[in-house]
Each structure stands twice: as C-alpha cells, then as structure tokens.
Assembly symmetry: C2
Homo-oligomer: 384 residues x 2
C-alpha cells in the first residue's frame, strides 16, 4: 500500500474570547469540516483531537470520546494528541500516518483550546509547566526565552529593533483580511514599538494573545479524494523533530534545531526545496520566531530573515507571503488549534478559497512549534 | 510499502507506590526497553508517550519532550497520546501506524502514570473528569457503572456472585508469579467476598488499585527486527473503536460495543478468530469487565464467561489463560502504562520470557479499555 494523502476540507471557528467550552468549540469546527468536505459522519474511520490541556484548563478529560460522540462519528476510533503548542501539527502527522498506513480511509483532525477564562497569569502557568524545572524555578518562561533570544539575534546580526515590529504590523494587516482572526485591526510600527515592555527588548505587540478556538481538516487517500472534490491538496512532505527540553543547553540560541530537522525531513519527502514554497504559515508566537523559522527552513540565509521582512518580501503581495492568515500574532493562538489552523490556511490558499487573503500558490508550508522550539512539525502541501 | 510491524523488546518498572515522578518512571522503562531491544538511542526515529494526565496529577507538561531528552533520543520525533485508561493501547496503535506508514523505522513506546501521591479521592476525581457531565453531576463515577453493570449481569445471566470473586482470586494468584506486580499475595474467595462494599454488589477486591508505574515496547519493521532478534513478535491485527460518552445511552449495559468493534477489526486484519488466541490480557479494572471482554471478543458465548472462570479455563493452566500478568487487579493500573504493560506481557509470553508465568502460546491478544468501554483498542500479536 503506497498511498498519497489528501486533504479535502477544513474549517475553523472564530478565534478570540469565546463563550463556549472546549467541547463545544471542537464540535463546531468538526461539524463545519464535515460539511465543507461533504463527508457523512458514518464515513469517518478515525478522529484525532489535538489539545494540550483541557484537563488543566477546565477539568475536562476524555475529550476525544466526547467529540466523537457529539459529532455522531461512533464507532470511529478517537484519540487525543498533545505536543504542547504544536499539538495541531502533531495531529496533522498522526492523521497523515493513519491514512498512509491504511488504518483509516477517512480521518477527521480537530484541534482546539479554551484558555481565556483562566486569565493571562493562570494560562501562562499552565503553559510554563512544559518548561524544564531547572529553568522554570528561576522564573524563566517562554516569553523570557523569546526576549533573550531576540536581544541576541538583534545584536549578533546587527538587525534593527524595528524589523521585529514590522512582523507584527504585517501579520496584523493580514489579520484584517481574515474574518476568523482574533484581531481585526491594523497596528502601526510606532504603536508596536511603544507598547509595554514584556520581556525586554520584546513588547506587547511582539506576543500572540491568549485565545479560544478550534480548527479542523479532513484527510483521506487521493483515490478517495477524487470522489469528493475537484480541487484538493496533498500532503507531499511532513517531518517532526524534538530539541532539548533544557533550552539553555542548545549550542546556538538563534538556531532552532527542531525547525531545521523537521524542515529537512519534509523537503526530502516532498522532493522539493525552499525555493519551491509559494506561501507559508510560520509559528509567530513571538515575532522573533518568524525570523528563526525563516532561517531554519532556508527561506533566508542565517541572520538575514529580517531583511526579507524589511523589503516586504514576506508581505501578502511579496514573493513569498508568510502568515497570510494573520499568524498567531493576529489570528490568535489556541494551543491545540494553531497547527491545524495553519494547515487550514495553506489548504485554503491551495484550493483558492482564501478570499481577500488569496495569493497565487501551488505549494505551501506550515511550521508548527511547541515550547521554544522543543517540538516542531513541518508540513508541505501541494494543490491538485 | 507494505510492512509487517514487529516488537523486538520491552520492559516495565515495578508497579505500585513509587517514590519517583512520572518523568523518572517513564525514563526508567524507556531505558530498560532500549537495553532489552539492543537498540541505540540514535537509532530511534519516533517516541510516543502514553499518559493520560501528568498535568493534572503533578503539574508536568511537555512530558514527551522531557522523555525524549532524558533518554538521549533527540532529534527523534516525540508525541504524547491520551485516550484515558486506554492511552497505552492507543500508543500501540500509534506506534504501529508510525512503522506501517514508513514514517519511522524504529519507534519507542513508553506509557506511564504517577497517581498514588494524590490519594484515592483526588485520583478518582481526575479519572471522573472523563465521565459525561450529565452522569458525573449525579455522582456517577466509573466504579458506580461497574456496580450497576455487575448487578445487571449477575441477574440477567443467573451468574453466582462468587464467579466475580474467582476472577480476583485468579488474577492475584497470577500476580504472585510476577515480580513487577503491585500485589504479591494470594487472596481467598472468602476474603474477596467479605471485603468492604464499594459499589454494591462489588467489593474492594473487585477493583484494581491506584498505581504508579511505566512500561515500554520497541516497534520496527520485520526486516529490521531480523537484525536485532532471533525471537520477536509481530502485531498481526489491531483495531480501535469508540462508544458513547454517555454510558446510559447504550442499548445494553452488558455489551461493550467498543470491545466488539475493535475486536472484529483486529481479528479481520490478522485473518484469525477467537479460537486461535492462546493467551490474553484483558482490562480487568473491575472484575466484571473481564467477563464483558471475554464475551465481546467471542472467547465465550454471551452470558457464559463466568462459567469459563468457574471451570478454571482462564487460569494459567487452563485452555486459554487470561491475565497471566496478574491483570490490572493484581499488577496495578497506572493509567497510561496499562495498555503497554498488557502488550509487554503478551510479548514476553510469545518470546518465551514470561518466567514463572510462561504458558504455551503462539498467538496472544490484548484488550485495553478506556473509561467504561468508551474507547477500546484490541491488539493481536504472533510469535516469530
């Protein structure tokens, strides 16, 4: 059995502060995805639920069972997948494996997280539980890593502070074109540069918000996809990698090993290289991460990603648009949903359903990062 | 690519009350498994961590990253799998898919849970978070379902209360032969029948204990297995299914749909039937579940499983021994570990390493149940 894996439909809920629990959010996205793909619940063999922490956030266990039940998918096989912020990407990989292995002929992937009810402090504590204790007990959280890495990057590569603000401005601008994004407003570079300091040199507008939301995708073999859709996407390359749990043990803080390794794996499987990628969704949980991923994926030479942004090459009308969806920065970052939502944006771009955000793209890439590059999944998709 | 999936090594920590956190337990089992399989850390492509609730039990997130790091497996892909009590079985399925799909040539599966530090009350609360709110708010927990189902079964099939006690006696007897089991003591039928009532008619000795522990298995394609081992096992059939989240919506409380569906899938893939199974590990979280699984998997006619136990047919010297390891009842039930430990027992039986528990077996089956049959994985393994 040597199957090609297709994606034939997708959906996402409105991201933001939502008056609904995780179970409802997941079901909303799942239902919309079934409808978008034209798939009957009875035809779903496997359902994967990407979710980091429904237990910690709202005391909800067994979420995969609840969602399979709510969507009328029984007796479909159901399972929850956690890989922290990259749970969604890990779900893409699991869904891909389920089809590729022949275990399933129709797999629904739903990712989501309900976070805002906890408030920023408690949510940050839950997220910080993934940090190594040797770092956490000294007060180091993910935002701290981002601040230290940003300072190092700017100094090492003589990059202007403004280049980070430009990432935020670009992604907010894209977000205004995405009705599902959490933020629907443009920001100015001045506003970003004058926003409150969070982890020096990073300021409020360098960080993604706390978000509720869910996204879904439908996977099947290409032979089956032909029955459902004229236009669909195939996952032509996918790879995952893990980096050190202790972030300060890494050789070079400005290189994300997991991005490099997972990217190489995905490129090799797809048989293409970075120049072939027309559009990409990168994990801009912090603005600095967009630079590190651009460089780790060879979109830019080491130390030069900031120049691409300065030159407008990553803008929606640039030569390789990045984060047309608004990215995590503007679209929001419901942990378990984000990787799926990245995949959904690339899918929409490839099948020509991205509305005001539509770019000309035959091949797209999504890079989903867990922790501070601790776990990374890179996925390459092509239009059919 | 049409690969057969082999298991070439395994391990488990001592189950019981352990003075070690989840991270250490998982690493202990993982390390022992690498050694048992003769596999170098560098040769591992994927690592799956089956764990229901390290966040809820001890505030530990990102456990897959921590374990991959601790075992020196970087940059191997790592991911956490949750399917409540059947997380271990779900890990078997994920590991199988990773090999079958070609995504990995060497996959380490480690399952574990650290529970005892919470005490029975808090642990039961965490487990009860998987119950449907419509039931939970009326005070219905998994033990309540077990009690109601046991009463129904005994009345419907005119089975003696003693038959349930005999399951406990048998599994405790097997546990005395397993140095890793939580309990190393025989019990009498009288003691079981006179133990405190928990959920009438079920008593203390009808329930598995709260347990800390971890277990691991190493998966690879058969071609690779040949390089590592003379004797190994293949996973010849595997299937998973989900049943209603609301338990009282099921047609018949004495039939576990998930067991039936996952079993049929596994038998079909393996191309064999129940009569071909020489030894089985069933999910005896409650004694009554052993009957329901025996019947769901067609080891016994509906309403007759209790007769097999009365007749000693499921004893270690019977015609189809069940729970030679001691089962969850005597070995213990660290949620995320249990499905992996079931697989490990079958593996040991098939490669002839089960010591005092050794039976004559070429083909074995493991049935791992999440919730009250909410999620089920059935795995069939054959000796090579």
């Amino acid at each position: 059995m040597d199957r090609e894996v297709a994606i034939i439909g997708g959906s996402m809920t409105k991201f933001g502060q939502r008056d609904a629990w995780i179970r409802e959010l997941l079901s909303q996205a799942g239902e919309a995805c079934l409808e978008d793909a034209g798939v009957e619940p009875d035809d779903v063999d496997h359902v994967y639920v990407s979710n980091m922490a429904s237990g910690e956030f709202e005391g909800q266990g067994g979420i995969m069972n609840a969602v399979a039940h709510d969507l009328g998918l029984l007796p479909a096989y159901s399972q929850r997948i956690d890989q922290t912020s990259s749970s969604g990407g890990a779900g893409m990989y699991a869904a891909w494996q389920s089809i590729k292995s022949g275990a399933s002929d129709m797999t629904l992937l739903v990712g989501g997280e309900k976070m805002t009810h906890k408030g920023t402090g408690d949510a940050t504590d839950i997220i910080a539980s993934i940090t190594h204790p040797a770092e956490y007990k000294h007060g180091v959280t993910l935002p701290s890593f981002a601040g230290m890495t940003a300072r190092h990057y700017l100094e090492k590569f003589d990059a202007p502070r403004e280049s980070l603000a430009k990432v935020a401005v670009k992604n907010h601008e894209n977000g205004t074109r995405n009705p599902k994004a959490q933020f629907q407003k443009e920001i100015t570079e001045k506003k970003a540069l004058e926003s409150p300091i969070i982890a020096d040199p990073l300021r409020l507008y360098d960080f993604c918000p706390i978000t509720d939301g869910s996204a879904a995708l439908m996977f099947c073999p290409v032979e089956v996809a032909e029955e459902y859709a004229d236009d669909y996407a195939v996952v032509s390359g996918i790879g995952g990698a893990t980096d050190t749990h202790v972030v300060h043990e890494r050789d070079d803080p400005t290189t994300m090993g997991g991005v490099v390794d997972s990217g190489e794996e995905a490129y090799e499987m797809a048989g293409i290289g970075p120049d072939d990628i027309d559009v990409a969704e990168l994990h801009d949980m912090f603005t600095i991460l967009e630079f590190l991923q651009m460089e780790g994926l060879d979109f830019a030479e080491t130390g030069e990603a900031w120049k691409h942004v300065e030159e407008g090459r990553t803008a929606i009308d640039g030569d390789r648009p990045i984060n047309t969806s608004g990215g995590l920065k503007s679209k929001g970052h419901p942990l378990g949903a984000s990787g799926v939502a990245q995949g959904y944006e690339i899918y929409e771009q490839l099948v020509g359903e991205a509305g005001e955000r539509q770019v000309d793209a035959e091949t797209g890439l999504a890079c989903n990062v867990g922790g501070f590059g601790n776990c990374v999944i890179t996925t390459i998709m092509e239009a059919r």
